[in-house]
Point group: C2
Chain length 166, copies 2
DNA sequence: GCAATATTGTTATGATATAACACTCATACC
DNA sequence: GGTATGAGTGTTATATCATAACAATATTGC
């Protein structure tokens, strides 16, 4: 049923996440006859290494440091590829890009975004999707994509702020 | 209960919408001791005159034609004011701005955006909000704002495309 | 009127994203 | 293995979206 996932908890070993994501990406690309080229692979890895959504130009700077071409099309092409493959999501309200934790299952990117620490948690509630789909249909609207971005205070920051007051 | 509204149907008299919106805006600003200055009022009106979300620079161009200052801060200040007052919404996935049809009641901007004609319908389903609020709380997350933007094909465009095939 | 504050003018720049065309490399086919 | 094809990348230029910083002006409360 409901599924939720965060790759922002400092408690976990994020390297595992990155490795899993990269492995999944390679498998998916192989299956679909897509080429996970050097720059695409490295872009994906760099996006994953950040615990927060990464801006295109931040990513470009990192790629440039490593000898990749430093012109914007480089990064936007890589992002376009990764977005189309479902390997990353774009967080519209931040103009930033985030590794997708379950690219292997088609899903919508629903996000909880902390205003304070800027960490982002992805969640994927089937019931919300079903409900939105049904409501769209009620308007004769054929739903293709959903942008669901919830902002506020994450548990940690909330505790930190109340703790400071107490 | 559930409320939905469109100001994109060509069937209606959009002038009524604009007048109502402007009247509501004046009332709200008066109540809250806010000043609906010339440029703010005209910006709101121009946003409403467009049936689709209007880009900041599109709006700026229209304002400039009418003798207002043509530098970007002019339009962004007006937009900031209108956004803060809840009189317009920003459609994040389009970087564009839309008149809010029910600024008088606090609400979230939920949008159905047609990929084909780019019209946008605002809807506001209390049950979706409640559901998201509860799910956020489940993660210890204190929800402050929601960006819900659904894209796809509106009823008209869907009919037009199937009609073309038939 | 006058001080305090809000609003607007103005210049400059930062941040995000794409167009257009040349070049290179991988792959598939012979 | 050669070579045509198309995918991918390099490069230059520019479009689009947004804000910083400070000066000038208008509004409001006294």
């Amino acid at each position: 049923m409901d599924h939720q996932e965060s790759h922002t908890h400092s408690s976990h070993n994020h390297n595992d996440c990155i490795e899993t994501a990269l492995a999944t990406a390679e498998t998916l690309c192989l299956e679909q006859g897509q080429r996970l080229t050097k720059v695409r692979r490295r872009a994906l890895e760099l996006i994953w290494q950040s615990h927060r959504p990464l801006g295109a130009y931040q990513l470009l700077a990192k790629l440039a440091e490593e000898g990749f071409n430093s012109a914007p099309p480089t990064v936007y092409r890589a992002l376009d590829f990764l977005l189309a493959a479902g390997l990353v999501h774009k967080v519209e309200s931040m103009n930033a890009y985030l590794g997708c934790a379950h690219a292997d299952k088609p899903h919508k990117g629903y996000f909880l975004i902390c205003d304070s620490c800027h960490n982002v948690m992805e969640f994927d509630y089937q019931d919300v999707h079903t409900s939105l789909l049904e409501k769209a249909a009620r308007h004769g609207f054929e739903l293709r994509a959903e942008t669901i971005e919830l902002t506020g205070l994450c548990a940690k920051c909330k505790m930190a702020s109340t703790g400071a007051n107490a």
